[in-house]
């Protein structure tokens, strides 16, 4: 569903309609696990003692250290010091101020999580020219209220205007003597993506 985004740049307001681009794999193509007779299989979780849990067979909740269930509405996000984090409202309700042009390095310090195609309902001429020259702008973008700040980058190429929703990442400087510690919980290379996809569908079905 398209999202209406209003942005202010140099005292001029532009109105953009952003639409998530189609996933690269067409929706009419699906990967299905089949049994020996060619019938589709169902993905399940298997517990350590062999219990098979089909979709809908798991209830997810929150618990405190005493083992008491905590309603979702009573769970709040905090920082490392235990201070509640401020919930930022969705950015779709009010105009947002563009930052930039930002250097390419700022975009390279992020990983794109979602790509939106942009239809400009009203685009400031100066902004249009700047984008056509290859400038990149940063804009706060939260389709719904959230505690974190995941920015988006507005850019243009010959195919059109794009809004790249991104998450920050960090490539560190390393010297000969000093390496970079690998994450202990990093995903394994032997991860089977088809199976992971099936489980993702499984979880979506559970919701």
């Amino acid at each position: 569903m398209p999202i209406l985004v209003e942005i202010d740049h140099q005292d001029a307001r532009s109105t953009l309609l952003v639409t998530p681009l189609e996933r690269l794999r067409p929706r009419h193509v699906r990967r299905v696990a089949c049994d020996a007779q060619g019938r589709p299989c169902r993905a399940v979780w298997q517990t350590w003692d062999g219990l098979l849990l089909p979709p809908g067979g798991v209830a997810q909740g929150y618990e405190n250290p005493d083992g008491h269930t905590v309603p979702r509405a009573d769970v709040v996000a905090t920082d490392a010091a235990g201070q509640p984090l401020r919930v930022h409202p969705a950015t779709t309700q009010r105009p947002q101020r563009l930052e930039g042009p930002v250097p390419v390095d700022e975009l390279l310090a992020h990983v794109v999580t979602k790509v939106y195609g942009v239809t400009a309902e009203r685009l400031d001429l100066a902004l249009r020219q700047s984008l056509q020259q290859g400038d990149i702008y940063r804009v706060p973008f939260r389709p719904r209220a959230a505690t974190g700040d995941a920015p988006a980058f507005l850019l243009a190429n010959a195919a059109g205007l794009f809004l790249l929703h991104a998450a920050p990442c960090r490539v560190e400087w390393v010297t000969r003597a000093q390496g970079v510690a690998a994450d202990a919980d990093e995903d394994e290379i032997d991860e089977d993506v088809w199976a992971a996809d099936a489980l993702r569908l499984w979880e979506e079905e559970c919701v």
Partner: protein, 235 residues
Amino acid sequence: MRQIRLADHRGRDATCALVSVRLPDPRRWQDLAGQPVHALRRVRATAATHPEALLTQSPDPDDLAQALIAGDPEWDLRALGRPTGPCTRGYLDGDGQPCYTPQWMECRAAADRGEPQRRPLPMRSANLVPATPPVWSGVLLPRQMLVHRVAFARAYQVVHQDALQFDFLYALAQYLHQRQVMVQVGSGRQGRGPLICERNGRPYRGFLDGRVQGEAMRLGLYLAAGELTISEGTP
């Protein structure tokens, strides 16, 4: 730890480590009383007590109702409500029995809403560390142009595991830094083929970005799934 076998502009190659560049989520969760909370999954139904399994056993609704009243087959009191703990993935075949070696098929819906076309999918292995030496692609692209063409959906940092690897990576980073470009890395005879990070994973186009600062260097591997274009289906 992930590894990648890289070739450089001098025709040398080395297998280096890849580490994640994602920033850890700094958020913690607590309840209104200030106590920390954690997410937990509990068993609600098993493959034997799930409504669909019960319907398979008793297709007639009246019989099912009688069975529910008489024996509570929907409750497995030994499993109900207990934490699931760590789980592995599995599959159930068409009869609801465990299927240990499912065959993966690609189902393509027919345009006339008829029977979908099916074809078996061959296994696609990860190719970050090929058996044969990789090839320097020689495709150097300015960063400014590249970020306007593709969206980098994944990124890793290439790091050394010993001093020789550091010298190799430093020279590569310096080469890219001096030219202010990114180089395409990939599979195949020309070094431009797709990179597949996991078995059966999505193919990506890989690009290396290198910077040096005195004795320090940083080399990032950026993976792009596709070009920034508006497809026909997008309004």
